[in-house]
Symmetry: C2
Subunit: 127 residues, 2 copies
DNA sequence: CTTAATTTGCGAATCATTCGCAGAATCATT
DNA sequence: AATGATTCTGCGAATGATTCGCAAATTAAG
């Protein structure tokens, strides 16, 4: 295992993610690809999503139904505000965490190493 | 469906959760019960966990391996700081969110309806 | 063009969780 | 305490998402 091949199926999966800009499951991506007659196997969709998530180019989230969904994303640390109507995902920076981190340390003796945050609501366009 | 029966198996599952105070999967709870010769079926463990989560007496979280885990919890809105060494879960209040909410509204036109937060690190006892 | 390495697609296998249902337990009423 | 209606339990089978195994197809180099 030296390099990583650049292949058609992988680019097709990536293209869908870049285009949609919202959390999609493997099955949804597979469905969208079929609609545009791009036949990529579901296995390959799964494998590509794992790859993208591993490289930090996609961010994963388990939805309410237990399915893992992915959205195209850049590596910088940030969080997401997801619109419950249209699914639009907006990046949110996280300065707020600094105060929480110090509070955790002083009040609970807890050394914060990592955190996760997600926001849900209605985006400007959907109001 | 009128009332809810109070049964032995349910109390055994609840007792484990109260005792352990950390996120446990259905399988783990089932295993702990068997060790103490309390034979509750895995199905019943699942059903009881759903019940507790529904009543807000337990809080659920999908762990890294994709398993749903539960911890005993009270209804008040708060978040959790999970120790990566011992699994201890500490409650964390969330004032910090207010500033994030207003930032979302003014900067992104996003109306915040709900949010999730989780913290990971090392608890005081484990340092 | 050849060849070695990687990727794909397919179906089978996994694994957590859910269902269906018959028998057991619980609760309210006599 | 016995009855009957309602709710639970345990079991094994079904489900559904994800992963695996492997032969055939693609890709990157020389
Ligand atoms: Mn992002
Ligand atoms: Mn709690
Ligand atoms: Zn929207
Ligand atoms: Zn600890």
């Amino acid at each position: 295992m030296r390099t990583q091949y650049s292949t058609r199926p992988r680019e097709q999966v990536s293209a869908i993610l870049k285009r949609e800009q919202r959390y999609l499951s493997a099955a949804e991506i597979h469905g969208l690809l079929r609609k545009s007659r791009q036949n990529v196997s579901l296995s390959t969709v799964y494998r590509t999503l794992d790859l993208l998530a591993g490289k930090g180019e996609a961010s994963a989230r388990v939805d309410a139904g237990g399915e893992t969904t992915y959205v195209v994303c850049d590596q910088t640390h940030h969080h997401h505000a997801v619109c419950r109507k249209c699914g639009k995902v907006q990046d949110v920076s996280c300065e707020a965490i600094e105060s929480v981190a110090s509070a955790l340390r002083t009040h609970h003796g807890f050394k914060l190493a990592d955190h996760e945050m997600q926001f849900f609501g209605t985006c400007g366009a959907c109001k």
